[in-house]
Amino acid sequence: MLRPRIIPSLLVHKGGLIKTRGFKDPKYIGDPINAVRIFSEKEADELMVFDIDATINKSTPNFNLIKKLAAECRMPLCYGGGITSSDQASKIIDQGVEKIAISAAAIKNPSILSEIANSVGCQSVVAIIDLKKKKSIFGDKYEVYSHNGLVKHSIDPFELIKEFENAGAGEVVINFIDKDGLMEGYDIDMAINLKKRINVPLTILGGAGTLEHIAELIRNVGIIGVASGSLFVFKGKYRAVLINYPTREQKIKLCEKALEFYFSERQDYI
């Protein structure tokens, strides 16, 4: 049976790996190629790498870096940062990358997703949406952001997701800005809500601090992509840098147990 994907998410800033909190306060982690090599050895399910400078600096994707990352990555790799055309996407896929992540460019013009899907296929098109929770007495609201949390968009997240799905996105990654780096757990309620309303594979990013947080998400939403930055690069509450990932046995046991709980709560398969 298909099992949930547990995905380290890495941020590249000025050529180095960093980890943020609330999209701010970057802490240097190390060399990206070295980290990818370690995650390959640890047999990570998948890897996401985002160049967080490219869109802000209006620069094109760093093909040199992508080539080196792909050469080390023996699991599926999703790359994002500065991709604005299907030519760039095809060139990245040809380097040995499986998935192309688009955020800012797709919010500006969702048809970029169709263009990329036509050349590399829907299965390789990943739409990323950064959400910030806005508390109000009339109920919580989620707002869409881009450009590393600097630009706010006045569009309903669910409408945007629908638009992205129709345009050919093969996966949607939801990144929770206010959970980023806190290591206190995922936004479970919103994840449940999202899972109900998304028809393509969904990945949740932002908030994990322990493997138990991953299990909690799977118990509540079933088969899903579970991504985290902090959990896989830090050890302990003082955030000592240590690249880590569960062993194959740990991972399979965690997924099986959490899925068993999820399926015992409902009759349908997903």
Partner: protein, 205 residues
């Protein structure tokens, strides 16, 4: 030498990286002449079926490939859309496939009316062996987990050619073999030690 067919579609580099890691000599074949030294062939592919078929046709390699695969019987493995192109046709497109291994490529969503899972089928899933294929003869004593990423699947006409199945809502044909022609829907180049082992077994066929 293993020829990786480069017709402008797919992750050729991922295979070159992996064979280099395995210490197996492999090279990128971009035209018929390149294929003269091929001993084994890997046909990768990602994206839309018609797009891939169009690109393969315009690469000008099909006649030479037919000579090597159908007459000289060189071992070939098609991967993902590369596997799907071995079929007669695909519900994803209008162009005919290579028709080297009898079967039709079908859409998950159309095949079964009650199918309500998200597509693409994305992630790690088990292969369920169906025969004693030499592709799985070594290194799979404790099961086989592979990475999948697809919305269409190969439906073998002759079920005796099915080597392994996988389950996504229903069991579908995930690995197929007919004599020297093999196809695998999932991605051995991105499936850690399971994938290395499968490609190693292919090299040793």
């Amino acid at each position: 030498m293993i020829a990786i067919i480069d017709y402008g579609v797919g992750n050729v580099q991922a295979f070159l990286n992996l064979f280099k890691f395995l210490g197996v000599k492999a090279y990128r074949a971009t035209n018929s002449k390149d294929l003269n030294i091929a001993e084994r062939i890997v046909l990768p592919g990602v994206g839309h079926f018609d797009h891939a078929m169009n690109k393969l046709v315009s690469s000008g390699m099909i006649t030479k490939l037919e000579e090597l695969v159908l007459f000289k019987k060189l071992p070939i493995i098609g991967i993902c859309v590369g596997m799907q192109m071995l079929a007669e046709s695909s519900e994803e497109g209008n162009l005919p496939g290579l028709n080297w291994l009898p079967g039709k490529v079908r859409a998950f969503k159309k095949y079964n009316k009650s199918f309500n899972l998200p597509t693409p089928h994305m992630g790690w899933n088990n292969l369920i062996p169906n025969s004693n294929s030499r592709l799985f003869s070594k290194g799979f004593e404790n099961g086989a987990q592979f990475y999948f990423l697809h919305s269409y699947f190969f439906d073998c006409t002759d079920k005796e050619n099915v080597v392994a199945k996988a389950n996504y809502g229903f069991d579908f044909d995930a690995v197929v073999s007919c004599n020297n022609i093999h196809g695998i829907q999932c991605h051995p180049e991105k499936s850690h030690h399971w994938g290395f082992q499968l490609l190693k077994n292919f090299v040793e066929l």
